[in-house]
């Protein structure tokens, strides 16, 4: 099963990476932002051809974003989590679109949901949200509940219907009695 990838990675990349085995067949490699693309390219050449997806975590207390690439090999059956940390004030990351083209919508999503910028990605327009002007919604300092209460509740919008549906039900009963 194992292709000894961690040992080889350590030999190849030395102190630029930090790796460990988390669970059975699930490994973790941490590296610096500018080294991620080198590492991903190397992993792909080592037959880690399947990029499952990429995700982002907002570590607000440490003022950092963590990007995670999930890479899997159909031969060694190992799943590798490639992680890197970005500064939360001006987060940007090199795009991996030249290694795995299908990473494009994931980067687009992370840009929309966290505000992480991917220079080189050809389309970072809004993917899911309509007319979004607030903080990117998956950031920890965006409070979804407040947003929902402030926008969607009838109270918040000052909406009192100019008609009364309960009235209709009562009159219906009377009307039907009259009809009989």
């Amino acid at each position: 099963m194992s292709d000894n990838i961690l040992a080889r990675a350590g030999k190849m990349h030395g102190d630029k990476i930090e790796c460990r085995e988390k669970y059975k067949a699930q490994l973790e490699i941490k590296t610096h932002r500018d080294y991620v693309l080198n590492l991903l390219t190397w992993l792909k050449s080592e037959r880690y051809v399947h990029l499952s997806f990429m995700s982002c975590i907002d570590w607000i207390e440490e003022n950092e974003f963590e990007l995670v690439w999930h890479v899997f090999s159909y031969e060694s059956k190992n799943h590798i989590l490639v992680k890197t940390r970005l500064n939360r004030e001006k987060p940007w990351m090199h795009t991996a679109i030249n290694i795995w083209p299908h990473v494009q919508p994931y980067e687009q999503e992370i840009h929309e949901m966290f505000g992480v910028y991917f220079p080189g990605n050809p389309d970072l327009s809004g993917l899911f949200l309509h007319n979004w002007l607030d903080l990117p919604p998956l950031r920890k300092d965006f409070i979804a509940k407040d947003y929902s209460l402030a926008l969607y509740t009838t109270d918040a919008l000052g909406l009192t219907p100019p008609f009364d549906d309960i009235d209709i039900v009562e009159i219906t009963a009377e009307e039907s009695r009259d009809g009989e």
């Binding site: 067949a25 995700s55 159909y74 795995w100 299908h102 494009q104 050809p122 993917l127 949200l129 309509h130």
Partner: protein
């Protein structure tokens, strides 16, 4: 506006004539669209020049909502990520939580989970096969297959109390044990489904019109499929022996024999046939699981589950759903609520990336069929 390599934005037709290219909205309100999703097609005549996916109509901020709910409360949110095939979500989430907790669930619980997963797979496959029929204008298959899907839902109801969303898996096992006599009904259903297969073969897969329509449509090579994130039946249809159940066994799949047959070809016909082969195998897997079903506890005692605290850590857990690899990346900061839950849906690569390559040059006739053959399920794109 994103285009894959080698494609330019301006085509030579549109340079000369402003009116040659027109927009056609394929979805979200379109009978050929499965779910609430849309492609804006730039068309020349009936041929597609380029495509702009229009996602987000089903976006409901799951990943944010999960951060604000307890570990156990999230169980009711999670099945809603993929509506036709909800159980893989529950299992993937529970497995990730169990991995961070470092617990091993009882053997019986693992078997029950596998049974539930396979049943969910059967239901979803029936919907998918019916969807291929519906996209081809062959409504009888859809109508007939939906009866059998409903019988599966009846069994789910008897087991879990829910028809569509079951909320049956919890961290540590399953919510309750299998009721008496339920497995007999399940085996009866397996026999019924298997006896239906020849009819469906005659109706759909051996139908010359269907073969003419699907053959050669949306071809993808094995190498390209692997490196563009295609998983599940669509990848197996390219002849790649890739199955999360075998590659990284979970639940009871390490003790169960899985003889997946591969259909080769990599086109829409191969993908449709692969779903049918997987369907047949899933019926057999259920039989094996029921036969080997051990006695014992059906869940691990984790105390009051609503006060569950998960230690600091993160884990990725994946499950072979009916459409491909469903994965949950769960991060915990040691609190009562998850710090971050990130969902990998199987439809994103095909629905958002491959569409640029495949739909270009395709006729409008084939868009719905192409979508059905890749089993694109918008809820897990949008989440």
């Amino acid at each position: 506006m994103y285009l894959p390599d080698g494609y330019t934005t301006l085509d030579k037709i549109s340079e000369n004539d402003d009116y040659a290219v027109y927009d056609l909205f394929f979805g979200p309100n379109h009978p050929g669209m499965h779910g609430n999703f849309g492609y804006v097609l730039d068309m020349v005549g009936t041929e597609i020049l380029r495509v702009r996916p229009n996602a987000g109509q089903l976006h409901r901020g799951f990943e944010k909502a999960m951060e604000n709910k307890l570990w156990a409360q999230n169980l009711s949110l999670i099945p809603r990520v993929c509506v036709p095939d909800p159980d893989p979500n529950e299992v993937a989430y529970c497995q990730a939580v169990e991995a961070i907790l470092g617990v091993e669930i009882p053997r019986r619980a693992r078997y029950i989970r596998s049974i539930v997963l396979e049943m969910s797979r059967l239901g979803s496959f029936l919907m998918g096969m019916g969807g291929v029929g519906g996209a081809l204008g062959h409504y009888s298959t859809m109508y007939l297959m939906m009866i059998d899907r409903d019988l599966i839902l009846d069994l789910f109801e008897a087991l879990t109390g829910g028809r569509v969303y079951h909320i049956y898996n919890i961290p540590g096992g399953v919510r309750r044990d299998i009721p008496d006599g339920w497995t007999d009904k399940l085996l009866e259903l397996c026999d019924r489904l298997e006896s239906k297969l020849p009819e469906w073969d005659r109706l759909l897969y051996e139908n010359p019109v269907v073969q003419d329509r699907l053959g050669g449509l949306g071809y993808i090579s094995a190498e390209e499929a692997m490196s563009s994130g295609i998983t599940g039946p669509s990848l197996r249809a390219c002849g790649v022996k890739a199955d999360v159940r075998i590659d990284t066994p979970y639940a009871a799949y390490d003790e169960i024999e899985i003889n997946s047959k591969l259909s080769e070809g990599g086109d829409a016909l191969a993908r449709a046939v692969q779903v049918r082969l997987d369907f047949e195998e899933a019926v057999n897997i259920i039989r094996r699981l029921v036969k080997q079903l051990p006695d014992g506890d059906y869940k691990l005692d984790l105390g009051n589950i609503s006060k569950l605290r998960v230690p600091k850590g993160d884990a990725y857990s994946k499950v072979e759903a009916s459409k491909g690899e469903f994965g949950y990346y769960v991060v915990s900061d040691g609190g009562l609520k998850p710090y971050r839950v990130s969902v990998r849906g199987p439809s994103m690569p095909a629905g958002m990336y491959l569409c640029h390559k495949h739909l270009r040059g395709m006729k409008i006739d084939d868009v719905a069929v192409w979508m059905a053959s890749f089993a694109i399920c918008p809820p897990d794109i949008d989440r």
